[in-house]
């Protein structure tokens, strides 16, 4: 058996893989948060609940409608994104002129409502979701065993992250978006419908969260509280990376997932706190975050 630093390679790479998986979710979720924050100036506390809704939607569609994973991967983000658009129209648009803190409190309240409703309906226990037939099994790479589904999650989330980055930084629509972030009044004066853009941006961010939820369903159990603890870690990730840059959010997400995985190997007691400790250290050394501009 191969050993690295006295740790069997299977254990080391196994944790590294779990770290990359967690990192994919951190990246997808912090990306959504960053996109929403850029346009709406709101920290979307509901993000965790929307991730959970994505996982539940996939589970329910499989259970009751027989809709399989691949269709859910497309339909669920659109569906949950649409509920996001509804939330933006019903609530968020009314508080745009208020202090940012109200946005945080409002979305926190919405998260409580959603989580409470799901707990009432489905209880607190986790529900399993079958890995799609195409991705079952795995391959032995010699130094570790790589389950196919996990490889897919990492690859696909990288693609989604890159596509989002490309859409925002390299396309015409993305340039409108960035311009509207800087100066919405001026962009409106050019005849671009900024309020609609804001609504759609929120829907898109929520869709990303739901997509992460669908991808997470076969890995973690689907449960009403799966999002609320995760979102706090993602907040820490966002503080570490700073919300100024899309690429920063992606890189920080993956990097922290890996660091967390490695901590699990070398110092398991600290694995649940390591990201918060890193956040504290980053704040002491570089308050604006690794990729952030000073706020």
């Amino acid at each position: 058996m191969v050993e690295i630093f006295g740790i069997p390679s299977y254990a080391l790479f196994g944790q590294l893989l779990i770290g990359l998986i967690n990192g994919s979710f951190y990246a997808l979720l912090s990306l959504g948060l960053a996109v929403i924050f850029g346009m709406l100036n709101i920290i979307n506390f509901t993000h965790g609940a929307q991730y959970m809704m994505g996982a539940f939607a996939a589970y329910l569609m499989l259970q009751y409608l027989g809709v399989d994973y691949w269709i859910a991967l497309v339909v669920v983000p659109i569906l949950i994104g649409a509920t996001g658009i509804l939330i933006e129209r019903l609530f968020l648009q009314h508080i745009r002129k208020l202090d940012h803190l109200y946005g945080l409190i409002l979305t926190f309240g919405l998260a409580l409502i959603i989580e409470g409703l799901f707990r009432n309906q489905f209880g607190s226990s986790g529900k399993p979701y079958q890995i799609p037939a195409l991705l079952q099994g795995g391959r032995n790479l010699g130094f570790m065993f790589l389950p196919n589904y996990r490889a897919w999650v990492i690859a696909f989330s990288l693609v989604v992250c890159f596509a989002t980055w490309f859409a925002i930084e390299r396309t015409r629509l993305g340039s409108y978006l960035r311009a509207a972030t800087e100066n919405p009044a001026l962009v409106r004066a050019f005849g671009i419908n900024v309020p609609r853009m804001v609504t759609l941006t929120y829907g898109f961010g929520v869709g990303l969260a739901a997509l992460a939820g669908v991808m997470a369903a076969p890995i973690y159990n689907v449960s009403p509280q799966m999002g609320s603890d995760l979102i706090i870690v993602v907040f820490a990730v966002v503080v570490i990376g700073g919300m100024g840059s899309i690429l920063g959010a992606i890189v920080t997400g993956f990097a922290l997932g890996v660091i967390e995985g490695l901590t699990k190997v070398f110092f398991p007691e600290a694995s649940s706190t390591v990201i918060f400790v890193i956040m504290a250290i980053v704040l002491l050394i570089r308050p604006a975050g690794l990729f952030g501009r000073t706020v």
Binding site: I95, L101, L110
Partner: protein, 322 residues
């Protein structure tokens, strides 16, 4: 001549203080009469939360800092007070003091990290720090994990008053909470408090006037954490229990809710909010998860249509300070 001696501004200020004094006397009278009508443990619980909410309000209402991690100080002070009373055999006054001071120490550490960022980031950082300490509490051997620290002895206050009597305990809690309440009132009406309000209104301007705003913010943060610690320590003695519930993020959310319902930046709002929310939770406990939904609905309603809170609306309608 009388008009000159007593300019309208001073008159208005005195009027404002009169309404506060009337409200304070009414509140104290109600709290003294209450244990004869209402179950004392419920009242003590509400009083602990009232102090907790007042401590939180000191930050959000007067410095404009939204801490989403105040459960950190409340819960950890509760654990340390319980541990001191049960394992080390501290008398109640020493255990409460120990819990309160631990709140202060945690406040210095968490505060010096969190005030490095403003606004929305401040809220996220405090939330993350509190979650970190939740995991520490979950793993640390002395906290008893999921069981918490149970059967904390209330002991004899100053070796004389037996706190296992509910009424005696109530008087102790009431005196401590009122002392904390008056202390906060004193802070916000001191020159120090005026600087805090200046920072809330316009931080760059306060800086340009020569104030070291970071030091003021840290100081306010530590004061708030200390008083939250006092509230947590008292709660540990009241329920004879310190548990994970008190350090979890839901507790941080609850104190935001209480303060928001009562009225951000009002003197009495957090007290009213705490009593209402604690009463609601006791009443609704049988409905299980609906409590979460109802809390959420109140949050949304407060932000959308009711931002002044109950006491804030009342003060606005009457045109007085409350």
């Amino acid at each position: 001549m009388a008009a000159l001696a007593d300019p309208p501004l001073v008159e208005a200020r005195r009027d404002g203080e009169r309404s506060l004094w009337v409200a304070f006397v009414v509140m104290v009278a109600l709290l003294i009469a209450a244990p004869f009508v209402v179950y004392p443990v419920f009242l003590m619980q509400a009083l602990c939360f009232a102090l907790f909410a007042c401590a939180f309000n000191l930050l959000i209402g007067y410095v404009g800092l939204l801490s989403f991690g105040h459960a950190l100080f409340f819960g950890w002070a509760s654990y340390l007070c319980a541990h001191a009373a049960k394992v080390w055999g501290f008398p109640p006054e020493a255990a409460v003091l120990f819990g309160t001071l631990s709140g202060a120490v945690l406040g210095v550490v968490a505060g010096s990290i969190a005030i490095r960022r403003q606004g929305i980031y401040f809220a996220m950082i405090t939330l993350a720090l509190a979650q970190m300490m939740y995991f520490v509490a979950l793993r640390a051997p002395f906290t008893g994990g999921e069981d918490g620290i149970q059967d904390v002895p209330r002991g004899h206050l100053f070796g004389v008053f037996d706190l296992s009597h509910e009424k005696t305990m109530y008087v102790f809690v009431l005196v401590m909470v009122l002392a904390g309440f008056l202390f906060i009132y004193r802070i916000i009406n001191s020159p120090f408090g005026e600087v805090l309000k200046a920072i809330r209104e316009n931080e760059p301007r306060a800086i340009s006037l020569g104030y070291n705003t970071d030091r003021y913010k840290l100081c306010a943060f530590v004061l708030s954490a200390t008083l939250a610690g006092l509230a947590g320590a008292l709660k540990a003695l009241v329920f004879q229990l310190a548990s994970l519930t008190d350090v979890y993020w839901t507790m941080s959310g609850e104190v935001v809710l209480m303060t928001l319902v009562g009225g951000l930046g009002t003197v009495f709002g957090p007290v009213v909010g705490a009593f209402l929310i604690v009463a609601m939770e006791n009443y609704l406990a049988q409905f299980g998860q609906w409590v979460l939904v109802i809390q959420g609905v109140i949050f949304v309603a407060c932000v959308l249509v009711f931002r002044r809170g109950i006491v804030g609306e009342l003060a606005h309608a009457l045109g007085v300070k409350l």
